[in-house]
């Protein structure tokens, strides 16, 4: 009985052919992905954020100058942003191939230090003529900036003169800001508001809320919308107008200087305890403070140099765009209360 139609035979599908092609292509991809074997120079791996190493960022120039003096191979690894840097560091733990991490800002330093992965820089910072007060055994500041509201002078002739005015004037300009849950400037504004309004920050956010056009994931989305004319003001940096003057030769975009002062962001670098090249890493940290690098930073990273150099800032940087008052929180306090402050922001804007 039942013998003929039930001959079990596994159908030969076209998989073998396709798999062959697949493996061939995967091989090609691996070949592309494998870095060409380099001459056996010591390699220094620096983790940083993407725009630092992009074509116009300071990365390529710094690499060129440092390699000329160190006889080594400086390798930048560009990650999405400062937060991505820190999370990559935590993911990798003591397996990290990085020697130096560059691009954390002062709202993340306490958390970074807590990982126990960083090592003291060992540099003598006493003799450095810093443009900002600084003393820290682990982190070396290479540049800094202030958060500020950039406005389109064609759409907004007279900007608010203070953060209080921006918040209280219900007929004030509409603004675009970034989300503190996903971006550094967004977090910066939460800290700034907290600094000015203290415990009344939640009410201040509620006052401001109707004039917030939208809250974006990151700086690029917000600035892109601003340039499209979606709002006359956007949260950015006090140095943003310098870019437009220096590269685009236009004075149209300016920053509203607030009389309470501006929240400061310092970008820092540190070396890792697991680094196999601790001396080279230290040399690199020192090199960041050299005139060579400090003079590159303003017109490539669009931030203020951390060290006074002999060379004045380019003309595009106006002196009246330097805040008179510098506002900051202690990094440890930021780490402790960040979540709570963000939740207050969330509550005020969601209601």
């Amino acid at each position: 009985m039942a013998s003929k139609p039930l001959r079990p035979s596994v159908p030969k599908e076209p998989y073998v052919k396709i798999l062959k092609i697949l493996f061939g292509l995967a091989g090609c991809l691996l070949a592309i992905a494998c870095p060409a074997t380099q001459a056996a120079k010591t390699q220094l791996t620096v983790y940083t954020y993407a725009s630092f190493v992009s074509e116009w960022g300071p990365g390529p120039l710094i690499e060129e100058h440092f390699e000329a003096q160190c006889d080594c191979d400086l390798k930048f690894v560009g990650l999405e942003d400062g937060a991505a840097l820190l999370s990559r560091l935590k993911l990798e733990g003591d397996r990290s191939p990085a020697d130096v991490i560059l691009g954390l800002d002062t709202s993340l330093t306490a958390e970074a230090q807590q990982t126990g992965l960083l090592q003291e820089h060992g540099l003598d910072l006493e003799s450095v003529d810093f443009a900002l007060p600084w003393s820290d055994l682990v982190f070396v500041p290479y540049d800094f900036g202030y958060f500020g509201f950039v406005y389109d002078s064609e759409a907004l002739p007279i900007p608010p003169a203070s953060l209080t005015e921006l918040v209280n004037n219900s007929n004030g300009p509409r603004i675009i800001i970034q989300d503190p849950r996903t971006s550094t400037p967004g977090l910066g504004l939460v800290l700034w508001m907290r600094k000015i309004f203290d415990a009344a920050d939640e009410d201040a956010w509620a006052m401001l809320a109707p004039r917030i056009v939208t809250v974006t994931k990151g700086w690029s989305e917000a600035y892109g919308l601003f340039l499209k004319g979606e709002a006359p003001m956007v949260l950015s940096y006090t140095t943003s107008p310098a870019y437009h003057r220096h590269v685009e030769q236009t004075d149209r975009y300016r920053v509203a200087m607030f009389k309470e002062g501006h929240y400061r962001q310092v970008e820092v670098a540190a070396r890792l305890g697991t680094s196999s090249e601790p001396q080279l890493a230290q040399d690199f940290l020192g090199f960041l403070l050299s005139d060579t690098v400090q003079n590159i930073l303003p017109t490539s990273n669009w931030m203020l140099p951390a060290v006074h150099t002999g060379q004045p800032l380019p003309d595009a940087f106006h002196s009246d765009e330097v805040p008179q008052q510098m506002l900051r929180f202690d990094p440890a306090q930021v780490q402790d209360q960040r979540k709570q402050w963000i939740n207050r922001w969330l509550f005020a804007l969601s209601r």
Partner: protein
């Protein structure tokens, strides 16, 4: 024991074994997906703990986030697919007009554009300072679209998903045999009756796929929701996952959230496909719509022309602003840059490998799904197989990426396999499109020819080559073309990994934006759009004619 009984038992057990073995392509594919997704989630949990489940279950804020996510995804899906039905029908009815191919190609564009580019394009038309508002202002009106809020989210989601749904539904009409139209013509069926008795059964095989894909895409939407949502009231689960993984660095929580999202999406997708059971189609030998009775009626023509024009404008205008912005930028400087072309080549490589992996997986799943429904008569199992190949859209690429990265770290291969990882994750994102395009046609081809193939003893490669391939050639070509264009424009995954040495084109675009170079980014966006169009067109043609 009776000898014949023994033979019977042996045969039966062989039969059962055969039943299982014959499902190997799908089993392998499901195992691969399970290993990839499960392995990456397990990797994170093993290293960083499982997160606090009670904290997630009792979090009132998270409940409101899930509620909003469901609400906007449901609305977006209903509007996108609801509008796609009449528009796809208009395209199907007007099967020959100049520019039809071009318009259908245009439909493939929104979804391959990086989100930020598309959002800037949409804003340039509908925003506070958009073309429409400016025209209104010039005409003396002060009214403007409230684009920031739920309206903006829906607008953008419809922009992305309406054309996708049209393209996913359009092949349904090609499945209708010419005889049906002739019969309908003889019976003098009205347009409504045609829809009810001829088109709906054909659509029922494609509709669940379109609904599931669009729903999953809207459910997991991230940058669109944040950028156009107007405030943190508009937050999706995906945003919470990003936050947990990035700023709060709590991978355990991120994994739990990802599992929550996966469970929700899988339940909803399964319910949807249970509810929309596909109906068997009338068989026939003729092709074409020549005999469709209602295609030349004046009113129908007018409606079709109107629908096609409006949808083309809705999709075309934002794309046009992207093109114009690109042409206004420093075109030569960007195009003559060799870095642009090596990034393009890299994106191309990733796209092709991702699509190849996805197509192989989709074919395996579809073969097994067909076997389950036609030979083993278990349509429920078919639904599950199709679901397995679709829910990869509900797994956040960022979480999978993190998991795979951890595995690579453990084996010390991070540097070598970065591009392969990106391709793998992209394959997961492309798989649902491939599966949902190929599976219905393959199953239909089986319905028509299975008995004949059995009689002729036609199986394996010969059957695939002679019977199945001619049937699925066009949908496969479409899936491959769409998938690679999609993966070509993907930034999400590539941005997770080391992006300094080996950047892809979309990452390059993003770099330019984050360095103030919005004008050069605009040109890059134009190159990206044009390249994905060429890629789509070329693959659609090459694969569509392969072995014909």
């Amino acid at each position: 024991m009776d000898k014949s009984l023994a033979v019977c038992i042996v045969t039966l057990s062989r039969m059962r074994a055969y039943r299982v073995i014959s499902l190997w392509p799908g089993t392998l594919a499901v195992a691969f997906l399970g290993t990839l997704i499960g392995g990456s989630l397990a990797g994170i949990m093993a290293r960083f703990g499982t997160g606090d489940l009670t904290a997630i279950v009792t979090d009132a804020y998270l409940h409101s986030v899930i509620g909003f996510t469901l609400w906007q995804a449901t609305l977006s899906t209903l509007i996108s697919v609801g509008l796609a039905l009449p528009i796809a029908r208009a395209y199907a009815r007007q099967s020959h007009f100049v520019g039809r191919r071009a318009l259908i190609t245009l439909m493939g564009l929104p979804m391959v554009m990086p989100v930020i580019v598309a959002v800037l394009g949409i804003v340039a038309i509908y925003g506070h300072n958009g073309v429409i508002t400016q025209l209104m202002r010039a005409a003396g009106f002060t009214w403007s679209f409230g684009i920031y809020g739920l309206g903006g989210i829906l607008l953008a989601h419809v922009f992305f998903n309406l054309p996708l749904a049209v393209r996913l539904l359009l092949p349904a009409w090609e499945q209708v045999p010419g005889e049906s139209w002739r019969l309908a013509s003889t019976l003098g069926m009205s347009s409504t009756q045609l829809f009810r008795f001829i088109e709906w059964p054909a659509l029922s095989a494609f509709l669940p796929g379109a609904l599931v894909i669009v729903f999953l895409l809207c459910f997991t939407s991230f940058a669109v929701v944040l950028t156009l949502g107007g405030g943190p009231g508009a937050t999706t689960v995906e945003v919470a996952i990003y936050q947990a993984l990035r700023f709060d660095f709590d991978p355990g929580r991120a994994t739990l959230l990802a599992l929550t999202q996966l469970a929700l999406c899988a339940t909803i997708a399964l319910t949807m496909s249970r509810w929309l059971r596909s109906q068997p189609l009338t068989q026939g030998l003729q092709k074409g719509l020549r005999n469709r009775p209602d295609r030349n009626a004046l009113l129908n023509r007018a409606v079709d022309v109107l629908l096609i024009t409006l949808s083309a404008l809705f999709i075309g205008l934002p794309i046009a602003t992207v093109v114009v912005a690109g042409l206004e930028g420093p075109l030569l400087r960007v195009i003559l840059d060799s870095a642009l072309w090596s990034a393009t080549a890299r994106s191309l490589g990733i796209a092709l490998i991702a699509t190849l992996i996805a197509s192989v997986l989709a074919l395996g799943l579809a073969m097994t799904a067909r076997r389950l429904v036609l030979v083993q008569r278990r349509p429920g199992a078919t639904d599950l197989v199709l679901l397995a190949g679709s829910v990869s859209l509900a797994v956040p690429p960022m979480v999978i990426g993190t998991g795979l990265f951890l595995w690579a770290l453990m084996t010390g291969t991070t540097e070598v396999i970065t591009l392969l990882l990106i391709a793998l994750i992209n394959a997961l994102m492309v798989l649902p499109y491939a599966l949902r395009s190929i599976a219905p046609v393959l199953i239909d081809s089986g319905r028509r020819h299975h008995k004949l193939c059995e009689q002729l003893g036609l199986q394996g490669w010969q059957r695939f080559r002679r019977i199945d391939w001619p049937a699925i050639r066009k949908p496969t070509a479409f899936a491959v073309a769409l998938g690679s264009a999609l993966s070509f424009g993907d930034m999400g995954v590539a941005a997770l990994f080391d992006t300094s040495g080996a950047i892809t084109l979309p990452v390059m675009l993003y770099h330019r934006m984050s360095a103030y170079r919005f004008d050069e980014a605009a040109v890059t966006a134009l190159v990206l759009v044009v390249m994905s169009m060429i890629l789509f067109w070329a693959l659609d043609r090459i694969v569509g004619r392969w072995l014909s």
